[in-house]
């Protein structure tokens, strides 16, 4: 095929990708808007809560947030603002959605990255060591992984605190900044992630170790460790990377209880508070942001596949 055709294909692929990404973002925002409005109770009642306010205050709240407009107009106005890059203002936090997201993003990002790092560092050697080993080693490892996946993050966090903070006093209980305050929350978030990653990587490894080229490598006199790390791991990484997009969602879910228990600022706390209080601009802002991250992560992964697996490079043409 000619060069012209190739570039046209690439342009088309990028445009399709961009189009579906926009569709995903629009869908996420719309679903959040509808869901929040389907729950009973009006926004103004939720904002006022169980207080008795003067009629003037009620009127002021309605006027400030345009709550007297029909829903479809509130929806269109919101979409219009997003297109201009304006996420709106929180109903309750006395700041813009962008600044609320901005101030809570860093702590959550820090926690997420440290947890992922921790999960990779632990799960990779664990998978390498346990793949195609004696039965009892595998059974022990899967047992531990099953526990890791199954225990609620909430409970694991409390347990970690009880042992390492209240009993041993190695780490501050909660509300601490700095590295000491990051360890326990990161471990709590990393537990289920590590367990899942180990399982997926090991399964990938075991499949690869059955392949004929592994036999060839061994026949060349390559050591077992060399076969595992140089050849098999690279193949096994593909399913694990696919999994990373999904992992991101899992971690965001874990942030909610962990940030709450450890009194850490972050997106989880922001979202929890906003959903409870029908703070629509914040909820939609967080949803839009996470959808955006998801889109970026999955697009990046598609590129990564090409790097990891040369066979796909041909397929992309």
């Amino acid at each position: 095929m000619g060069d012209g055709e190739v570039s046209r294909r690439i342009v088309r692929t990028v445009l399709v990708r961009l189009g579906t990404s926009l569709l995903v973002l629009w869908g996420a925002v719309t679903a959040a808007f509808v869901a929040l409005h389907l729950t009973p109770g009006s926004v103004v009642d939720a904002l006022i809560g169980s207080n008795t306010v003067t009629p003037q205050v009620r009127a002021q709240i309605i006027a400030d947030y345009g709550l007297d407009r029909p829903l479809w107009r509130q929806y269109l106005a919101y979409l219009g603002r997003i297109l201009h890059g304006d996420l709106g203002r929180s109903y309750q936090l006395h700041e813009s959605v962008a600044s609320a997201l901005g101030s809570q993003l860093a702590p959550s990002l820090q926690l997420t990255l440290v947890s992922i790092g921790l999960a990779l560092i632990v799960s990779t050697p664990l998978a390498l060591f346990t793949a195609r080993r004696r039965r009892w080693i595998r059974a022990l490892s899967s047992g531990i992984e099953l526990v890791g996946v199954s225990i609620p993050t909430f409970w694991a966090a409390i347990l970690l605190l009880t042992v390492f903070s209240f009993r041993l006093g190695w780490f501050p209980a909660a509300g601490a900044t700095g590295f000491g305050g990051l360890v326990l929350p990161a471990v709590a978030v990393a537990i289920p992630v590590t367990a899942l990653l180990t399982q997926v990587t090991r399964e990938g490894l075991e499949r690869v170790l059955e392949e004929p080229f592994v036999l060839t490598a061994r026949a060349r006199g390559m050591s077992d460790a060399g076969v595992r790390t140089r050849h098999a791991l690279r193949h096994a990484a593909l399913p694990a990377v696919t999994f990373a997009g999904w992992l991101f969602g899992l971690m965001l879910g874990a942030l909610v209880p962990v940030e709450q228990i450890f009194s850490r600022p972050g997106l989880g706390q922001l979202l929890l508070t906003a959903v409870g209080g029908k703070d629509l601009p914040i909820v939609m802002g967080v949803v839009l942001f996470t959808a955006l991250v998801y889109v970026v992560v999955s697009s990046t992964l598609d590129v990564l596949y090409l790097v990891i697996d040369p066979r796909l490079r041909g397929a992309a043409r």
Binding site: V57, R58, A59, D64, E95, I158, L161
Partner: protein
């Protein structure tokens, strides 16, 4: 109200329906020091206190949360201080006069007071504060509602102001003593709601360093402070160099932080853990009865099965609330007999003799009301319809094992042949039902250091409508009660007001408009190195007189 987190309005802030968040409170000045231990106070050190919820908005003029009062009280003084008996004492105002028609209050202000930003405190500052509270742009969810007849403030000279009302409003001084009427620096009020939501500047014994949402707040001592409320244990600056309040939402985490010595005190010790804390030689429990509405159940008197007085009376008589409360809380909370707590101004001790457990009488009343049939499950029926009570309940926000309590009440009701069904929901859903009147039973507590709490609970004007929310969950409407409540507004004489409030309590109990459950105590767990923690009339701890000894 629920002290839990309040939705959105916070949110988490936590809250609870009708309850919750709102706890209002009137906080006032300090009264006798509670606190741990004794000895000679020492200057210096830091006290760290952990609470279970945090303000969504730090400006007490706007926020309705009880925790906003707790967070800002160290930095804010009020014009007057309230003692536990309802007596009013000088603070930033040295004297006051009430006009003969009870509509005007003239205050003489203390001289030589300045805000921590250097602005002098004067008559104009008082006017700016009160006008700020009622300004619709402040969106006050609590304070403005306490002074609805407010017409304006006049500066008579630098240190004299007159506050006018369109009609007599006797709860004014008690409201003025709360942190929700704390006097903020006029210079900081000018910076608008967004600034105030994170920064509060006052004349108080402590100055706020930083309020960090989801973490807490830190303060340092105001070295110039020399204008504490009458009734405080000492004068001059606070003893502590620093004060820190941390937000630790989870009960087990807060408790663990206390037992491991990481904090000096915690709010809301779970009743189930009180004995554990008391057994620890390094720790102690300080408790303080909260005035205002007890934790009560309110039957919907306007529609449904409880519209029949006999069914309401049967529910109260046929369930042994006192025994259930005693067994569940091991004596930590006492059973209630009036809608308001014994230490509320205007409490009627005679209510203690009412509401005896009498299942035979309950059965007779239900027979009389026509619920004579029985269905296959043993529930009473009338015209083939089962006697069902729909209870609007927010399990997720239930604190102090109120959900366990509710299940025990449900089991007792079954013995009477009443089918109690929980209609669980979020805070917002419960509010929506409250507005529609779509429930048979509701439950909440409503703290406030004044008998006027009865007006919130039982005045016909406090019934929720789509246009305004009110705490009269019983949807109770009685011209006589409305008359007494209004008469109480027109007199500042405590004896007269108490007599009127006693009549209200007797009448609403006779009418079965409330099933009193338990009296809430603020349970504070403290390390014995912390001393001199005192209480506001609203039952929140204050730290002006507090001091710490070495670790």
């Amino acid at each position: 109200m629920l002290r839990a987190r309040r939705p959105a309005g916070p949110a988490l802030a936590a809250a609870a329906v009708l309850a919750a968040a709102l706890a209002l409170a009137g906080c006032g000045g300090t009264d006798a020091a509670g606190g741990t231990g004794s000895g000679t106070p020492v200057r210096g050190g830091t006290l760290v206190y952990a609470v279970n919820t945090e303000p969504v908005n730090l400006d007490p003029h706007a926020s309705p949360q009880d925790v906003t009062g707790l967070f800002t009280r160290p930095a804010l003084d009020s014009l007057v201080a309230l003692d536990a008996k309802g007596g009013v004492h000088p603070w930033l105002a040295t004297a006051w006069k009430i006009s003969a028609d009870q509509k005007s209050y003239t205050f003489t202000l203390r001289t030589g007071v300045k805000f921590s930003d250097g602005t002098p405190f004067d008559a104009a500052a008082v006017k700016t504060n009160l006008d700020h509270i009622v300004d619709p742009r402040t969106k006050s969810q609590l304070a403005a509602g306490f002074i609805t007849p407010y017409t304006g403030t006049t500066v008579l000279d630098d240190h004299t102001v007159r506050v006018d009302f369109s009609r007599p409003h006797s709860p004014f001084l008690a409201a003025l003593a709360t942190a929700y009427f704390g006097i903020e620096s006029p210079a900081s009020l000018k910076k608008g709601p967004d600034y105030l939501a994170r920064h509060v500047v006052g004349t108080g014994p402590f100055v706020i360093d930083a309020f960090t949402p989801h973490q807490g707040i830190t303060y340092h001592r105001n070295p110039d402070y020399n204008w504490g409320p009458e009734g405080a244990a000492h004068t001059g600056p606070a003893y502590l160099d620093k004060l820190q309040i941390k937000t630790l939402t989870e009960d087990s985490v807060r408790l663990g932080a206390l037992t491991s010595g990481q904090v000096d005190g915690i709010a809301s010790v779970p009743p189930a853990n009180v004995r554990q804390v008391k057994a620890n030689p390094r720790l102690t429990i300080l408790s303080r009865e909260a005035p205002g509405g007890n934790y009560n159940y309110y039957p919907n008197t306007a529609s449904g099965v409880f519209a029949d007085l006999r069914v309401r009376q049967a529910f109260r008589a046929g369930i042994d609330f006192r025994t259930i409360v005693r067994k569940l809380y091991f004596g930590t909370f006492s059973p209630a007999s009036s809608p308001i707590a014994p230490n509320t101004v205007g409490y009627d001790p005679a209510t203690g003799n009412l509401g005896a457990y009498d299942p035979a009488q309950a059965a007779r009343l239900l027979d009389e009301a026509g619920w004579t049939g029985r269905d296959a499950q043993g529930y009473r029926t009338k015209d083939g319809r089962r006697l069902v009570v729909r209870w609007s309940f927010a399990k997720a926000f239930a604190r102090e094992q109120r959900d366990v309590l509710a299940v025990q009440v449900q089991a007792e009701a079954k013995k009477l042949g009443i089918d109690v069904r929980f209609e669980d929901g979020t805070f917002t859903e419960l509010i929506a039902r409250q507005v529609r009147g779509d429930y048979d039973l509701a439950d909440f507590s409503w703290q406030r250091a004044d008998g006027d709490a009865l007006r919130n609970l039982f005045a016909s004007a406090s019934i929720s409508t789509p246009r305004s929310f009110g705490q009269n969950s019983a949807r109770y409407k009685d011209p006589q009660v409305d008359g007494w409540l209004n008469a109480a507004l027109a007199t500042t004489d405590l004896a007269q007001r108490s007599a009127l409030y006693a009549k209200v309590q007797q009448k609403v109990l006779a009418d079965g408009a409330v099933f009193p459950v338990y009296v809430f105590d603020y349970l504070l767990g403290a390390n014995k190195r912390a001393h001199g923690i005192a209480w506001e009339p609203q039952a929140y701890p204050t730290f002006y007189d507090a001091w710490v000894t070495g670790k």
